[in-house]
Point group: C2
Chain length 213, copies 2
DNA sequence: ACTGCAATGTATACAGTGTCCACAATGAGC
DNA sequence: GCTCATTGTGGACACTGTATACATTGCAGT
């Protein structure tokens, strides 16, 4: 994943693409240990550069964190898009719409499970409402995860499954449920359960959302 | 809240109740700035004691954090119990049961709103599944927040509102939804919204849970 | 091709953190 | 009243983020 950010002491004074190398290192750190693990000095170490060099590319440790966060959100968006494109292979419009919403939820929950470090980095914030607006936080469609959920909900309206008057704000309740479950399974009371035990709960929750929306 | 942990340099070599003073200081710090703000040295400073003194009472900074977390969970449990007792003043068994579940959700969401620092401290974990089992994390009933939710769900079954076969695992989907919304409103896309704007979303979510359970 | 300058990486330094170790004061139990 | 386990102190270390001054470089314009 990161070819540039490795040990062999470069001979050129300039790094070439330090910003990207730092970002890669940051992502790797986040993957390994979540947001608190992305520490500036370690990133520069992995990039083979002195700590302060980072400040030529990121205003602060937090700025680096935000970039890593955007990258994580982008990865989630890509996963959602993959799952969405599978859903589109379903039958009629109604089925596709239903499958789309499920795809979003499924991708979200799987991402939380398979990439806990990135997931926590993406969502365990502490500040900065702007991060969601970051254009780097998108998939190939140019949409971020939240917007992709909106697409799925739009499809439900389009297909006549969801009454238009219930559309506004629907992403909030849908997102809440799935996000809450992900957190619960990641670091809450569900942590100890095996994937096989969590799966039915996931299904039940998705059903509740689909029905109760 | 903390009478002991203040500046006047004590004259006795021993503090008297340093453990409690540190805990109080820790809670205050969490209240002000969330989990990352509970820093050992600052707690000892507020207790008027040298940093290392803390290690006579807590094995590490994380041990202190866990204690603070338990305290925060306890505060939430107390808030839930207050709301529950109001729900019990409703009419018949069915109404009480329904009101109980809503009381839990309402208390949870309000706690997140009014005590964001403590809320994040309670739930933004990073480890330790045992914290939920901590006997200090309870209200007057001796039950922790999760168990109180269980009580409300039991009442729904008792009242014939929730079919017994749907009872197992119900706390997970209910908790997920409410917790997710709380996080969303605290540090997600809903952060910017006023309390008046969030309220209807809360109501809608609680309705969805009640109906879709 | 040479020169000057902006961009980028380095050196040094400081305050703040968690934590280890050796030492000092204290108060409870014989 | 002496002993000794408890509790608080002092000093140190490795680590963090970050500021400020300096070195090296590649590119722009002559």
């Amino acid at each position: 994943m990161d070819a540039v950010s490795q040990l062999p002491p470069r001979r050129s004074y300039h790094h070439g693409d330090l910003r990207q190398a730092l970002l890669n290192a940051g992502v790797a750190l986040a993957q390994e240990g979540g947001p608190e693990a992305v520490v500036l000095r370690e990133a520069t170490r992995r990039a083979g550069v002195v700590p302060n060099a980072a400040y030529r590319h990121f205003a602060s440790r937090d700025a680096l964190l935000q970039a890593v966060r955007a990258s994580a959100l982008s990865a989630l968006a890509l996963a959602m898009e993959r799952e969405l494109s599978r859903a589109e292979r379903a039958g009629g419009q109604v089925d596709v719409a239903r499958a789309s919403l499920r795809a979003i939820g499924t991708a979200y929950l799987r991402f939380a499970r398979t990439q806990p470090g990135l997931f926590r980095t993406a969502f365990t914030v502490a500040a900065d409402p702007e991060s969601a607006l970051n254009p780097d936080a998108t998939g190939r469609s140019g949409l971020n995860p939240f917007q992709l959920l909106g697409v799925a909900l739009d499809r439900l309206v389009q297909a006549g499954v969801l009454p238009p008057e219930r559309r506004p704000g629907a992403e909030y309740v849908a997102w809440s449920s799935v996000h809450g479950l992900a957190m619960l399974a990641l670091e809450g009371p569900l942590r100890r359960l095996s994937r096989g035990q969590v799966r039915p709960i996931e299904q039940r929750l998705l059903a509740m959302v689909e029905q109760g929306l």
